[in-house]
Amino acid sequence: MPKLKQAGIHLYQWFEDRLGLGKPAIEAAEHEVPENTASWWYVFGSAATVLLMLQVVTGILLGLVYSPSAGQAWASLEFLDHTVRLGWFLRALHGWGSDFMIAIVLIHLAQVFLFGAYKYPRELTWIVGVLMLLLTLGMAFTGQVLRFDQDSYWGLGIGASIVSRVPWIGGPLVDLMLGGPIIAGPTLTRFFALHVFIIPGLLLAFTCIHLWMVLRLGINDWPMPGRLVSKQTYTHDYHKLTKETGIPFIPDAAWKDAIFAAAILFAVMACALYFGPFGPSGQPDPTLIQTAPKPDFAFLWIYAVLAYLPPSLETPVMFIAPVVGIAAMLLLPLLSPEGEKHWSRRPIAVLMVAVIAVTLGVFTHLGTYTPWSPIMDAWTSDPIPPAYLHDRTPLEREGALVLQNKQCRNCHSVGGAGGLRGPALDGIATRMTEDQIIRQVLQGGGNMPAYGNALSPSETTALVHFLGTLHVENERDAIDASRKLAESDHAAPTSAH
């Protein structure tokens, strides 16, 4: 046994004499970090790196089977899901790994922001980190394209439509993005190149730079209220702190990173096993238009924002907001390299994180059920509740049929079923008078198209009579005061006769 050990050491030494990488690697692993950084709050960066490695490995494994051809990509995904042994699990790992990576990267970003880690001397580490966030999102978008299904196809259409709005160069940019006049083979191959070569190459290079700077400048020490960062004293103070309280990163601090990384990998595996892979949904055949395209989770909030922006503001907001947002993130450490690091003394920073998190959360939640989208088959699938047909006249029942046939249900819910784009029609009689309903139906307005062309007078009468029966219990129906007055004026002279 000692002989074997001796042989092992000898072998290592043989390589070390030639490579010389072992010594600096061990030194880097054992470098001293301030004791207060050995915290569970400091585990997100390493977890993101581990997830990146998972994505690289699972991505390469999927690449063994995937066919980046517009005509065959979808079939190769189905082949992976159903024919290749454990192909579905690899797809699921890659998909869930992507969602976890975005989540962990965002948490990492919020944590280093709240801990003031972007301040001197780690400004460039933050800036490179922002670029890595953008690359991660780029990976998520291009990855969604490679899952070449209906959502991917129309997602590309949404992307091209957004790009086409760029002033002056929108047209050529769309051509560059699609690689041809339409979304087709050349589009998929260029997104394949982006997803497999260009973005991961940049992401790995930036990860090395990011890590190198963490090693070179030292991990951000745990902030203390009142301990201000100053360019004159920071480096000296940090080295003093490291000297006084330093512990070797491996093993004294790194075990938390390792445990968290293992937990995250386990969670990815559990999700992959339980929920399975994402899609593919329908075939990427543009002639199958019975589809409601939706982006992946990470982009749902953008999808929601685009639904709520007024048309006139949409293009400016689309291009100004991201530029301002990204510029602000890139410039943050340059504008505020010194001063307070602790979150309890930076209320605006805390407020910003809270507001941004809530905003993204709310828009993402809205994106999951898209209340702005008409439900295309509600008119044939959601019946009028029987209670709404009880004790109604034939004309009113005819109106219920008109409501159904004219597809009003696609945007208006009745009895809790139907679209959410327009207001629910239960109790409409308490909100609008007959005249108001007629005007709204025929002329439209607000967010409603005009139905003057689509309804005959008799249909309109029936519809309005039916809507007039949708009361709310114990509430009075809407009345037109002026009409009553006009009728009484009209009545007065006749009674005088």
Binding site: V174, T291, K406
Partner: protein, 218 residues
Amino acid sequence: MDPNQPIAQEQPVDEATRIRQAGHSRRAFLFKLSLALNGIVGAVMAVPIIGYLFGPATGKKSAEESWIDLGSFADFPEGETRLATFRNPITTAWDGQTGDIPCWVRRVSGTTFQVFAINCAHLGCPVRWFAESKLFLCPCHGGAYYQDGSRASGPPERGLFEYEHKIAADKLLISAGKMPTLAAKCGSKPQLTQIANATPVQPSTEEMPEPRCESCQS
């Protein structure tokens, strides 16, 4: 400077380093020359690479659009809007189904047609025709258009994109080939084009899109 200091002491070292520091030794010159040479080679190589990369953006629009046969115009019933599909004129062998493009054909009456792109003018999602309510609805963000393609409500800034069309030898032809976007609108003809040389058909009042008051458009 101390005059007593022997100058000779520094001289032997100086000769070689000074030339090197000044940067005009033969080797330094050759190194700079090699850099310049590589710069030139790089620039020359960049020309085809950039040309290759930007190739898709430099194509002529006229080459991408061509007349496509949608079949006999009599196959489209008058007063109805039907989904038609065509093979894009420019495809690659590996495009598969993505080369099949749908469009909405509205035969107003006689030979008066409107052919709309499938893509919503908002963000390009596929709009669907609802014959009963005479509306095109978009599943993505709820853009709605009237039967003549004009904007009804929702986020789109404008009406549906409309392909240029003509009738030749009883065939309905459209000019298509490129995905319509706000930057590349297909055919910018006004609505309800009357085909030249065709028998003018007086559209009945029912078929003509009714003028809508301005307030309803907002």
